[in-house]
Point group: C2
Chain length 294, copies 2
């Protein structure tokens, strides 16, 4: 089968053996924002035409390709959901040579009924489910919009999105905090200083301004401002998740190396253990959904 | 005497009688960012030359004119501080015809020693001190960077800055949240929905993303997104201040009408009473510092 993770700014296709082993892969920067109106069939053919010609007939797609801005909109599926519920809610896309199926995004609601959404990450979570089994687990997928999910009984029971990465970017690029920043080599000490500040308690709207106060008073180097701010924001993210329910075991962490290293530092500061996972879990998740389907 | 509040983007000069009554005023958009290098003496002369010619000889200036980007840098004074401490820490600016004195900004440190800074607002707080006397009081000056101050014994004992207004602006203009926003007439119901969400508890980094989730699922109108986001952010600001110590009496509120109305709505939702004050308190504060001086 073929598994595709087609996001806003990237395209990843995997040719998968039974069981989910990766036989071949195609990666490009051809995210859905680069696709012209009506251009999805041609873009898909250009990327995986050779595999289809060699006889592959099942294609599972996940990510923003299933959003309103994508190829076809796949409705959101409410949590709790596992591979079986997801496989039962796939959206077909007509295609002359293959069976194309879109993986739905997920929604989760908190105790007050306020919703959250994900699209693409559900497939990575399913990939981790395959590894972790039915015991309760807390998962963290750091990124522009970090996702934290609680798994239990082989299903994703609920999740939250944390806007940490995007907030850091807009504050550095567009707010007064950016004026004091100079590029630096990266300082774990300044990052941990920010994490500790968040862990002490207090509101983010005040503490984020402290980045500027420290700089104005010469108590934070310009080249360490970004590190401190990152620590402060990731610290607030971790604090909120822990207050919502501390995990019994390790936090399961999967994502880009640089970001996972920082999250691991923050976890240590909060007294949390963690376990790193392969970043290719989306491929495993796609294979697992397909298995449930067949 | 003459009192001047010279900020980043605005200039306000008052000709004041003994006791602080405003005899005349000059206001313009000539904030310090509009002043060319070395242009402060000429800008001042253009604005208040006629008053100087009529015999005024004492000029007190506050605001960003005393910052590193201003005319002369006035050092920060640590809290607790009242009119006497501030009057004893004025920075003179040489001038051929008048005695020019810069009001210092203030710093405050929390229990962990992390600093905060203000420049310009200290003068408004002194103006409120004149009205409120020595009893403990909690003051709120809403704005791009809202200031909350605790007064006691006729001095400003400590304060915090909340980056609420600027965060709302950068999120609407530069983050993914802005994509779902359409202009609207303003909805108090949507604003209060955001305030209540914040009051329930939970982290801001997650709840701010909820603005998008609600929009994607059709549970928040595009024309009400800004109202909801404002309520959420102001709600988090008020929650953090209340958690840091709820006031025994009303919150004393001074600032622009539109913003004060929203803050008053949020206070009601938190069960706080409030009292509105004249937005011209900077003039009274400048007069009070000058009285202490003479």
């Amino acid at each position: 089968m073929i598994g595709i993770d087609w996001g806003t700014s990237s395209f990843r296709a995997y040719r998968l053996a039974a069981g989910g082993a990766i036989l071949d892969r195609v990666e490009s920067a051809g995210g859905i924002l680069t696709i012209p109106l009506g251009g999805f069939p041609a873009a898909l053919q250009a990327a995986i035409g050779p595999w289809l010609a060699q006889g592959e007939a099942l294609v599972l797609l996940c990510g923003m390709v299933g959003s309103r801005q994508g190829w076809v909109e796949a409705p959101y599926l409410p949590c709790p959901a596992g591979p079986a519920e997801i496989a039962a809610a796939l959206t077909p896309i007509p295609h002359p040579d293959a069976r194309l199926l879109l993986v739905p995004g997920l929604t989760s609601r908190d105790a007050a009924g306020v919703p959250d959404v994900m699209r693409g990450e559900e497939t990575k979570l399913v990939g981790l489910l395959a590894e972790l089994g039915p015991a309760p687990a807390l998962l963290c997928l750091p990124g522009t919009h970090s996702k934290w999910a609680r798994l239990e009984g082989g299903r994703i029971t609920r999740f939250t999105t944390q806007m940490t990465g995007e907030l850091r970017a807009v504050l550095l690029e567009h707010s007064i905090l950016g004026r004091l920043v100079e590029p630096g080599p990266g300082s774990d000490a300044a990052f941990l200083r920010g994490v500790r500040r968040a862990r002490q308690g207090g509101g983010l709207l005040h503490q984020v301004f402290g980045t500027r106060a420290l700089g104005l008073l010469g108590e934070l180097a310009a080249a360490e401002t970004d590190d401190y701010l990152s620590g402060l924001l990731i610290g607030h993210e971790v604090r909120a998740v822990v207050e919502d329910g501390a995990p019994a075991g390790p936090v399961h962490l999967a994502g880009a190396e640089t970001l996972c290293r920082l999250y691991a530092l923050a976890f240590e500061e909060f007294g949390l253990t963690h376990r790193r996972h392969d970043p290719d879990i989306a491929a495993r998740g796609l294979a697992m959904i397909a298995e449930t389907l067949q």
